[in-house]
Symmetry: C2
Subunit: 265 residues, 2 copies
Amino acid sequence: MRIVCIGAGNLATRLGWALKEAGHEVAQVFSRTVESASALAGKLDCPFTVRPDEILSGADVYLFSVKDSVLEELAARIAPNVGGALCLHTAGSMPMDVFRGHAARYGVFYPMQTFSKNTAVDFREIPVFLEASDAAAYGLAEELARSVSGNVRAMNSADRRYLHLAAVFACNFVNHCYALSEDILRRIDVPFDVMWPLIDETVRKVHQLPPREAQTGPAVRYDRNVIGRQLDMLEGEPDMREIYDAMSRSIHRLAQEKDKRKEER
Amino acid sequence: MRIVCIGAGNLATRLGWALKEAGHEVAQVFSRTVESASALAGKLDCPFTVRPDEILSGADVYLFSVKDSVLEELAARIAPNVGGALCLHTAGSMPMDVFRGHAARYGVFYPMQTFSKNTAVDFREIPVFLEASDAAAYGLAEELARSVSGNVRAMNSADRRYLHLAAVFACNFVNHCYALSEDILRRIDVPFDVMWPLIDETVRKVHQLPPREAQTGPAVRYDRNVIGRQLDMLEGEPDMREIYDAMSRSIHRLAQEKDKRKEER
């Protein structure tokens, strides 16, 4: 397929690369700045533009991978000029309807993954969640998705909002716990890699057990002595104290629910 | 060495097993209940007792792997009867001094890992943090530690408190984020394994990048639209809302600090 990439961020870069490797033609890259547009166009060996009115017509798919905050505006501006081509966006938390009234055929192509500029990722493993305005559009989106991923599913906009929220907990909040852990280790001059065996095991366990069955540590039984001492250690760090406190109470509450269900059996 | 295991929980089970596999003799298991004491003694093929005054004398090491809340009491009761043997506890957040005045030679043997009854773990990968009352005691503790782990380090009680707090963030809080993610997925009838590629990638990234460099998602730039909508979706879940809100503000604050440092360069 001939594809125009709207956007040149981390996701656009990884996805553009995967599409090219799968044998598609990336016909053009559009981005707001010459710097980002030319960087991605260079990687994909294709032309670029920074002007919406210079976006090529005649491609099969226009793939919008841009910040949520500019997606609606760009959809309204670009989609009306692409004729019967398929417009897709890649945003987990945005509804398909940002294209309604602007594009004839449209949908969502949400690859649920965390993308960085500097770390490559195996696209075939990434679950891609699809939605489209009609069956023909869905068929085309599915063909595109299956060419890059071995894990393609249908999901509507209402459900995808929850999926994206679940991903924020399982990825962004998890990563932030690592960042705070590193901050604490810095106080005793211990490098973060000391945590890797514990981190890896924590993840390995949730491949085998439901997370609430896997929980350990002082908050499960709400050990007041440990929790009190640890809150004291976070004096002067209001963000971390707040997170520690909210997490500990919530862990304890889930553990109590679990015990209660066990008793009722 | 001849070792008596005080305690029969997840850590005692995994450690007792590793010690036996390393060729040590576990001479006895003590635990508060016949059920837990006999279960571990059965696995280690050794006698057990539930009475502190029946704990064997003449072993080389008495290894206390018990809840923090009962450690002091058991140390005071058992350590005075073991002569010159080495008393060790395995609690990350408890000071070595729980043995002071009760044991002649003592120390801490903290294997930093999350232990479950039903998932085996490769003990050789686990970092073990040691501390002891004198050089001879340290030598013995180190010999024991090196027989089960390839990753043995010295750390004093003051630093170990921070290490343990960092572990609570990197393991228990991370696991709780997974548990909450699973809760959200349950609302749309999606099984948790859909998150595995994202979870695995999030962890893979912090083996390559400092966690704060790896962060992505709506909180980095504090995208008010996404954050507002996601908080609305958590209406009726006060724990999750509180965690979502505290995490998002804290992620944004770290990202701002990072940008500020970049500008100053």
